[in-house]
Amino acid sequence: MILINCPYCGEREQSEFTNGGEAHVVRPKDPDSLSDKEWGQYVFFRSNPKGIFYERWVHTHGCKKWFNAVRDTSTDTILKIYKLSDRRPEISEFQTTLKSPSGEPIVGSGNFAVKK
């Protein structure tokens, strides 16, 4: 279980938090002006990248505050945690991190033997 550094409480286990999905999705100012399709996009569609992901968390069993995190979903490494009021960090701030054989790797599982 990963450890998450709540900006208000410090490091706690992930099970104290609830994930709130993609961050920086702004609720449309005037929903009535949107088509069904556009509205559906807002309600149901969220990015789901393998790699760097901007996401929201709330410290449900602690201070109950929301904050944002940048996490590499291919390794579950948290690259940055920032408050809602902070600027969204640029993606260029983060390098891709080490991939490893014991999680889902980029390609297969390193078992590339092919019979001759």
Partner: protein
């Protein structure tokens, strides 16, 4: 045995993803729709995705008509699959039980049983005594949320997960399908909303029809064609115990005391957990989820406290907002999706592959998968199986 050829320059249909659904789709395309020039492209090894890491529960007792029809189409195919493929799927119709632990569960299940019956399914209600007779080791009274009853589908059961991938691979290969392993599709090539092929780690492969059946990775691939899908990829974990002599003769699932268990033909208990609460592609998940699951198992079956966890793993499931799959065309011509199976698509493998093959071949949905389109997320015609699917396996 199947061949491992190098990819040709182009195919009539490319199927991305060598799991059960992808291989099955190739099989039915070749068998029922006469396609000769098909490739299945798999980035790792066949069946190494969720097909190779699921708890293999098969049932069709879903609430809404659309789902019941889809999943039961599948169960009917399961019933003949070993013969059809001449490969033993070890499909074991030992029944699947969904426990009710409170008044709300009871109400929900009775509703589902009634709907199932009208749809021609065999789900029935068991009271606590009948449950105890089927599963004597279950603790039904002496627990925090007592077992008050269950919905039981006798035709449900389990099958050998690997056999599904291998069986479809063998037979579709015999019909000329190219099965290409260790080849990752990097992007989908399109031109003016028309599919042209796929860019892979082994180069460009052309096709006018491309079907994406990559479970957790489907939305990542869709993105490369400019298509957004309402999917989130979550870890789903499972574990097995050490093998013991048979003690549990059916499949038991519970939502309130969240865990599900069956005993494999080799003797180990196959136990499933809930999804982790965040997106991840690590095939791992958090230890807390394992603890939650084992707590529930020990609660329901105190004697399992003396048993041991042998191995624990995770898969990457693609969760849809309404807990129902997407088997659909999209705005890009020639691009098809079969995804969003989330925590419960193994049971649908033959059925979904069968209707998906139809959708690809005819460029229009089969009656059974019509409702599982992408438009539902705009017009609101969702097929919400959250409440009724309980544990969605």
């Amino acid at each position: 045995m199947w061949e491992s050829p190098d990819p040709k320059k182009g195919y009539d249909v490319i199927i991305v993803g060598g799991g059960g659904h992808g291989l099955g789709t190739a099989y039915y395309l070749a068998k029922e729709h006469g396609f000769k020039n098909i490739a299945v492209i798999e980035k790792g090894w066949l069946g190494g995705g969720n097909t190779g890491r699921n708890t293999t529960i098969i049932r069709s007792n879903y609430l809404w008509n659309e789902s019941a029809h889809l999943y039961d189409h599948s169960v009917k195919l399961w019933e003949n699959l070993s013969e059809d493929l001449n490969f033993n799927m070890m499909f074991s119709q030992r029944g699947v039980m969904n426990l009710a632990h409170n008044e709300h569960d009871i109400k929900e299940m009775k509703r589902r049983i009634s709907a199932n019956r009208l749809n021609g399914l065999d789900t029935k209600w068991l009271d606590a005594k009948e449950i105890k007779e089927l599963v004597p080791i279950m603790n039904t009274e002496n627990l925090r949320y007592p077992v008050l009853g269950a919905a039981f589908q006798p035709r449900g059961g389990v099958a050998r997960h690997d056999a599904v991938a291998w069986g479809y691979a063998l037979r579709s290969n015999e019909m000329g399908v190219d099965i290409i392993q260790n080849c990752e599709v990097k992007s989908i090539k399109t031109d003016n909303y028309k599919v042209e092929g796929v860019e892979t780690s082994k180069g460009l492969i052309k096709a006018s029809k491309v079907a994406i059946v990559a479970s957790g990775h489907t939305s990542v691939l869709a993105q490369t064609a400019g298509v957004r899908l309402p999917l989130q990829s979550r870890p789903l974990q499972a574990l097995v115990s050490e093998p013991i002599k048979p003690v549990i003769n059916t499949v038991v699932m519970s939502n309130a005391v969240h865990a599900y268990v069956s005993q494999s033909d080799k003797g180990e208990l196959v136990i499933g957990a809930g999804t982790d609460g965040y997106n991840s592609f690590t095939q791992r998940g958090g230890y807390d989820v394992i603890e939650e699951t084992v707590r529930a198992i020990v609660e329901l079956y105190p004697i399992f406290g003396k048993m041991k966890m042998l191995r624990q793993w995770g898969g990457i499931v693609d969760i849809c907002p309404d807990a129902s799959p997407i088997i659909s065309k999209c705005e890009v011509k020639g691009l098809y999706f079969n995804c969003g199976w989330g925590t419960g698509g193994f049971k649908a493998t033959p059925g979904s592959a069968n209707v998906f093959a139809h959708t690809i071949a005819k460029d229009e949905p089969h009656k059974i998968n019509e409702a599982f389109n992408l438009e539902r997320f705009s017009d609101g015609r969702l097929i919400d199986e959250h409440g009724a699917a309980a544990v969605a396996h």
